[in-house]
Symmetry: C2
Subunit: 259 residues, 2 copies
C-alpha cells in the first residue's frame, strides 16, 4: 500500500513539527519551570507541558486550520471516531522530566475517521525519533524497524506499571513470572517504543489515549495489538488498563493474565 500524496505531505509536516517542538523544549529546559499537581502529588504538569502543547497546536492550525485535537492538557478532547484528529502528549513521562530531566518524550498521532494514519514519538534526551505506521514504514532515526520476531516469553523483558504489579491488578504478576524480568521506565511512549524495537515483549499500564495513540498506529504495522487487558479496543476517551503486545501472542497472554 502506498500513502497518497496529501497524507505523505502531512506526515512530512508532522516529522518536521515534532523536531521543531523538541528544539523548542530543549532551548527552554535549563530555565526554571513551574510544577503543578493535578489529581495528587504523583500526577504532575509543568508549564513546559502547556507551552509545548500550545506550540504544536498553533503550528498545526497554521497549516491545517480545520483539524481537531485530542490533547493531554486543557479541554481539547475531540472524539477520535470522526474527522481529522491530532492526538498530542506534549511531554510523556512528566515525572521523569521533572525529577530526572531524562526519559521523556514528545508524542503526536494523527487519525482520520478513527483510523490511525501515523504516529511519532521523540525521546528528547536520547535523541531517538520513532515515526511511521498506517501506510508508512516505521523507523527509529534512520533505521527501519522490523516486525515482531517470536521467541519464548522467558527470553523477553516486560514493562509493567509498578502499582499494577504490586497489587497484581489484572493478573499481570502471572505474566511477570513467565518472562526474564520486569522493567518500569515511567514513560508510556518510551516503554511502548522499546516494544516496537523488540527490546520488550510488551508494556502494560493504566493510561490515557495520548499515551497509546501513537505507538498503537506504529505497532499495528509491526505486528502488535494495543488493547485493554480484557482484549477490547481502547475507547480513546478514558484512562484504561492497556497493553501493547505481539498479536500472535495475544490470546496466550490473555490466558496467562486470567490465571
Amino acid at each position: 500500500m502506498t500513502a497518497n500524496l496529501e497524507l505523505s505531505q502531512k506526515f512530512d509536516f508532522a516529522k518536521s513539527l515534532v523536531c521543531s517542538a523538541v528544539a523548542f523544549l530543549r532551548a527552554q529546559m535549563d530555565q526554571p519551570f513551574e510544577v503543578t499537581e493535578k489529581t495528587d502529588f504523583t500526577d504532575l504538569v509543568t508549564d513546559m507541558d502547556q507551552k509545548v502543547q500550545d506550540f504544536l497546536m498553533s503550528e498545526i492550525l497554521a497549516v491545517y486550520p480545520e483539524d481537531h485535537f485530542l490533547a493531554e492538557e486543557g479541554d481539547y478532547k475531540q472524539a477520535i471516531g470522526s474527522g481529522k484528529v491530532w492526538v498530542i502528549d506534549p511531554i510523556d513521562g512528566t515525572a521523569n522530566f521533572v525529577a530526572q530531566k531524562q526519559d521523556f518524550a514528545i508524542v503526536v498521532a494523527y487519525y482520520e475517521d478513527g483510523i490511525g494514519k501515523f504516529g511519532l514519538i521523540y525521546d528528547v534526551m536520547a535523541e531517538q525519533f520513532y515515526y511511521g505506521g498506517g501506510d508508512f514504514d516505521v523507523f527509529c532515526n534512520d533505521e527501519q524497524l522490523v516486525p515482531y520476531k517470536d521467541k519464548p516469553f522467558s527470553q523477553f523483558l516486560l514493562a509493567i506499571n509498578p502499582g499494577m504489579y504490586h497489587s497484581n491488578h489484572g493478573g499481570v504478576a502471572h505474566l511477570a513470572e513467565r518472562v526474564l524480568g520486569v522493567r518500569t521506565y515511567g514513560s508510556a511512549a518510551l516503554s511502548s517504543a522499546k516494544v516496537l524495537t523488540g527490546q520488550l515483549l510488551g508494556y502494560i499500564s493504566h493510561i490515557s489515549p495520548w499515551d497509546y495513540a501513537a505507538s498503537k498506529i506504529m505497532g499495528e504495522r509491526l505486528g502488535y495489538a494495543t488493547v485493554t487487558i480484557e482484549g477490547k479496543q481502547p475507547n480513546f476517551r478514558d484512562r484504561e488498563f492497556i497493553m501493547i503486545v505481539p498479536k500472535v501472542r495475544l490470546a496466550e497472554i490473555q490466558d496467562i493474565l486470567e490465571g
Copy 2:
C-alpha cells in the same frame, strides 16, 4: 585530602582499563554470543561476561601481579577485608544485555584492606562513564557530580527490585508510597548511578558485592550510604538486601521501611 601518587596512577590505569574493556565488548557485540542459565532462567551469564572479566583481570595482573579479585564469574572470591582487591562485574545488567543490547555496564571497584579507594561504572551503550570516590572527586564523563541535595521524598523517584516491591519485602512498598514514582532499570550499577546524579532518591535491591562495590565508594563521597535494609554494613560476601540512600535521610527511611 589528596590521593597519593601511586594511588592516582592506579586510578588513571583503572579509567583507561575500563575504557579499553568497553571498546573490547563493543567490538564483539554484533557477533553471536552464548547465553547460559545459572540458578534459573532469569539468572543469565554469557560468554561475553567471561571474556570481559578475563580481559580486565589479565590487564590488571600484567601491571599489578600481586593484586587479588572479587569477581562475579568463576572462583575469584577474595575477602574484601585485607590486601589489594579489585571487585569486578564484567557486565552488570546481563538480562538487559541479552534482551535489549542496552542499559548494561562494566563495573570495577578497588579496595585496600577493606577501604574503598575508587569505583568505576561505564554505561556501555549510553557512553556515560562514572568514576571517582575515596580521595577522588566523582565525575560522569567530564562533569563533576555534586553531593546529595535534599528535597522532599515526594519530589524524588525511587528504583526498587520489582520482586521486592511486589511482595513488599522489607517494607519497600511503604517507601514507594511516599515518593513520586517507582522505577526498575534492571542494572544495579546504572540504577545506583542515577542516585549519584540526583535523579533518584535511592535504589533498593537484592544484590551481590560486585553490584554495589563501585557505587558504594562513589556514593560515600557524595553523601550516600550503602547498607542493608536493616542498616548494617554489607558483608561483601553474600547476596543481600541492599539500599543506597542519602545519609541524612537514612534513619527516616529505615523508620518508613519498618512501617
